[in-house]
Homo-oligomer: 127 residues x 2
DNA sequence: CTTGACCTTTCAGTTACTGGAAAGAATAGA
DNA sequence: TCTATTCTTTCCAGTAACTGAAAGGTCAAG
């Protein structure tokens, strides 16, 4: 499987697949005589694993850890859970931040008349 | 006012104040003989304005626009409201994304036993 | 006069890619 | 077989919004 087939199968842009190889996250298992990266199903599975992990917002380094655990038959689920819980807390923190931002900004937007005149509670609040 | 006093008054790191000057967002109104940036109250007010805008998540370019409107006595509140509404929609979009991420991940974390054994619904889901 | 705090510029690094250029390799069609 | 197109390679640069560090000039206190 050349890189374009692998990238399609994994649901990732070619550039990204190459990037993941560069940083040693998921290397192509082999190269053709001409130097083309050649992927097999196992490599594609790893790419899919990374894509899903990234979709959850795990950083590349966390993905590296998770991929290590994915391939480690002696892993403990406690280790996986620790990483996932950390991410979950970050999500919850972000949610709280967004919520208060939302409430404040929504209030300002609601009270701004949005007409041709210059007076504006949004600007007043920021200034 | 030298840069450190201005940065304290504005609640921004010195590096950031210098950065904002570099990109032409808020330049120091003058320089001392030795070339030190010198800030006055009006400049500090602009820095505070930018800080608050950034806290709402407006991009630097949006901050530039907002600062322009802040200083424009002929602005219309409609223009301000348009920018703020756009940001509000982005926040709401992000909130929806985070909510579904949260629900999925929370479910996985809850069902993971987190013990010494390798079987793990989180890893299963990602793989 | 020296010490230490403060200021300057410039360069590099951060995250996770993405775009583009130049050039070699493979393939399909005439 | 020749050619046109597509695929691949590597390398370099850019993104957003800073942040850290290096190397050196300035200023106030003791």
């Amino acid at each position: 499987m050349n890189i374009s087939a692998a990238s399609k199968a994994a649901g990732l842009p070619i550039k990204t697949v190459r990037y993941y190889a560069d940083i040693g996250l998921v290397r192509a298992p082999s190269r053709s005589d001409a130097g083309y990266r050649t992927y097999d199903d196992a490599a594609v599975r790893k790419l899919v694993f990374i894509r899903r992990s990234r979709e959850f917002g795990f950083t590349i380094e966390e993905c590296r850890e998770l991929l290590g655990l994915y391939q480690d038959k002696d892993r403990t689920s406690a280790e996986v859970k620790r990483i996932a819980s950390k991410r979950l807390e970050e999500i919850e923190k972000k949610q709280r931040e967004l919520q208060s931002l939302h409430d404040e900004l929504a209030h300002l937007v609601k009270t701004c008349r949005g007409d041709h005149r210059p007076d504006c509670p949004i600007i007043d609040y920021l200034g």
